[in-house]
């Protein structure tokens, strides 16, 4: 081979050949699509929501009815017809579903994960894991009906004064819904704990309980916390089940008072469904409030994600 051939051969520049360029651009576009979509949605939420508030509406060139941002963020009455937009009435209901479902799903989910990861035989696992995945795959509107038709009547036996639509039933059903998420992510985290640590524990004369709760769970803590945050984000954003089960009457309730859970209320997501399915006029104040709620919801879940990210970094153990 002559020197010239060698020169041509070694300087082919395959990295920028048409095929490489084409595929690279295609993959980049696919990756960029989700970023662009997210940014567009956030942009839309922010611009539309700012048309709702008195403070920012003039900037968007919107004339006519607007609402005070202070009243929106601090008000506790949500009455569209009397132009009262106190988002705390909706936030309190969302908070109740979140707290209520957390009380149910976090302990049950972690217990399920411990069973699957530490106790279950291969055979039991092969039945339980797919069953959990099916639970996660049930359409959420079905959960709503399940709450209305089975859970609420059962609750009526215990609490005779409970309303047809109540937060307890909604919390229970959302709790059941997020158990698979807590269980599956926690189980992954526990399975990833190196077997050497279990051996060390058993070698010390630890019982199965000692090893599961004293070694595996602490070592998997970052994953377990992540599962909590992700599941709670899911509970906050859950729509159909709470729309069906929680009721349609916005009401500010104290989430920390157990008696509140016997009443119905309107979580943020259900309020948005109500606005969309109601006879609101496009461009009107009620219509624009939709985006304001959406923005609040987005900020809450964003904060949850940031916390989740921080927690999983902070408590991650490197082996």
């Amino acid at each position: 081979m002559s020197t010239d051939d060698l020169e041509t051969d070694l300087t082919r520049n395959t990295e920028n050949s048409p095929r490489e360029l084409l595929t690279r651009s295609f993959f980049f576009l696919c990756a960029a699509l989700s970023v662009v979509t997210t940014l567009s949605i956030v942009g839309l939420l922010i611009t539309e929501a700012s048309k709702f508030f008195t403070l920012t509406a003039p900037l968007m060139g919107v004339a006519g009815e607007t609402a005070s941002i202070v009243d929106f963020l601090t008000g506790t009455t949500w009455q569209i017809h009397s132009q009262e937009f106190g988002v705390l009435a909706l936030v309190s209901a969302t908070l109740m579903v979140t707290i209520g479902s957390a009380v149910i799903a976090l302990p049950l989910g972690v217990a399920t994960a411990i069973y699957l990861s530490e106790y279950a035989s291969a055979q039991a696992r092969s039945i339980l894991k797919p069953a959990l995945e099916i639970l996660a795959g049930v359409p959420t509107v079905v959960y709503g009906f399940f709450a209305l038709i089975y859970i609420t009547p059962a609750l009526e036996v215990v609490f005779p004064g409970i309303g047809t639509f109540n937060m307890l039933s909604a919390s229970i059903v959302v709790g059941i819904m997020i158990i698979p998420m807590v269980a599956s992510i926690s189980e992954d985290a526990m399975s990833a704990v190196p077997d050497e640590l279990r051996q060390a524990g058993y070698g010390m004369g630890a019982t199965k309980f000692d090893v599961s709760t004293g070694i595996v769970v602490p070592a998997a803590l970052s994953g377990i916390f992540s599962s909590f945050i992700l599941a709670l984000s899911r509970a906050i954003g859950e729509t159909m089940a709470v729309t069906v089960a929680a009721g349609a009457q916005a009401k500010f309730l104290n989430p920390l008072n157990p008696a509140s859970y016997l009443e119905g209320a309107l979580p943020m997501t259900a309020a948005m469904v109500q606005l969309l399915t109601g006879d609101i006029t496009g461009g009107g104040l009620a219509y624009r409030s939709l985006f304001a709620i959406g923005l609040v919801l987005f900020v809450i879940t964003l904060i949850m994600n940031v916390i989740s990210d921080y927690v999983s970094r902070r408590y991650r153990e490197a082996y």
């Binding site: 050497e196 060390a200 524990g201 004369g205 019982t207």
Partner: protein
């Protein structure tokens, strides 16, 4: 039915005396071992037997990992198990504290007694057994907890009421780690170097004062300096504990052990005798070939 169910205790002892060739040989060759120093020849002769295995067989699924292992391990001494990879020496070690129970496919047959009690009897709780028989693993495996919490872990789970500070100091001193970590007892055990982690694991194992200490190639993942520290430690520990150590390093076995068991491929115990005898004048040609590096 396993063998242990058929043979009562007394018969097992008798069988050990008559059927185990190494035992017979030991008696015949007493003259040869006269050359040994007084301290070494006394070990394993007069000392009480702590662990005695009787025709132990282990299968992993269809794989026959150990074949008819019978040996008596004496008190307060270091017994080394050497042999090529896959010869079953670690498997035998795990029979002693029933760690093989944790492997689904493992099946153990035969008897193994700890001070006369067959640990494979149905009424023996492996958890209780492991509290008397501590273990140090090949790869250092401290818990992702502080150094202090690592050492007191055994006390806590066993509900032993003790002055934790005192136990931590004493255990870490015996493990020759105290001076290096005394100012950072509450930092994570994972922040230590490999050799320090292994000494922490030894401190953790001796904190509860077990009768027997099993060590599964405890220095194989360590550098030469850390290895020699561990070796010194093992020799010291043998003053109070019965140490059974698996190693694939023959020099290590020669340096630190009082008795040596040579396992060769096929999960057979080929020879078990005083360490000096094994290394200087082994009975078996296969052992001699292995020791001199012709095989394995």
């Amino acid at each position: 039915m396993s063998q242990r169910d058929k043979a009562p205790e007394g018969e097992q002892q008798a069988m050990n005396g008559t059927e185990d060739p190494t035992n017979d040989e030991m008696l015949v060759e007493t003259d040869v071992s006269d050359g040994l120093s007084a301290s070494e020849s006394s070990v394993g002769r007069d000392a009480e037997t702590v662990i005695s295995s009787d025709n132990i067989n282990v299968w992993y699924g269809d794989d026959h990992a150990l074949t008819d292992i019978s040996m008596d391990i004496p008190e307060n001494s270091v017994t080394a198990m050497i042999g090529p990879s896959g010869c079953g020496k670690s498997t035998f070690l795990r029979c002693i504290n029933r760690m093989n129970d944790l492997i689904d496919v493992a099946r153990v047959e035969g008897g193994l007694t700890l001070r006369g009690k067959n640990v494979y009897d149905d009424d023996v709780d492996p958890v209780a057994l492991r509290r008397r028989v501590g273990m140090v693993f090949q790869k250092p495996n401290p818990f992702p907890k502080s150094i202090y919490e690592n050492v007191v872990y055994g006390l806590k789970i066993q509900g032993i009421d003790a002055d934790y500070d005192e136990v931590v100091e004493e255990s870490l001193k015996r493990a020759a780690l105290w001076d290096e970590v005394k100012d950072r007892l509450h930092e994570s055990g994972l922040d230590l170097s490999g050799g320090q982690q292994q000494r922490l694991c030894i401190a953790r194992a001796i904190a509860t004062d077990p009768e027997v200490l099993l060590m599964d190639e405890p220095a194989s993942a360590l550098d030469p300096v850390a290895t020699s520290q561990i070796e010194d430690l093992v020799e010291e520990l043998a003053e109070d504990y019965t140490v059974v150590i698996v190693t694939h390093n023959m020099q290590q076995a020669a340096r630190i052990s009082d008795k040596t068991a040579v396992f060769l491929t096929g999960g057979e115990l080929v020879e078990f005798n005083d360490t000096q005898k094994i290394f200087e004048n082994p009975e078996s040609q296969r052992v001699e070939d292995y020791i001199t590096g012709k095989f394995g």
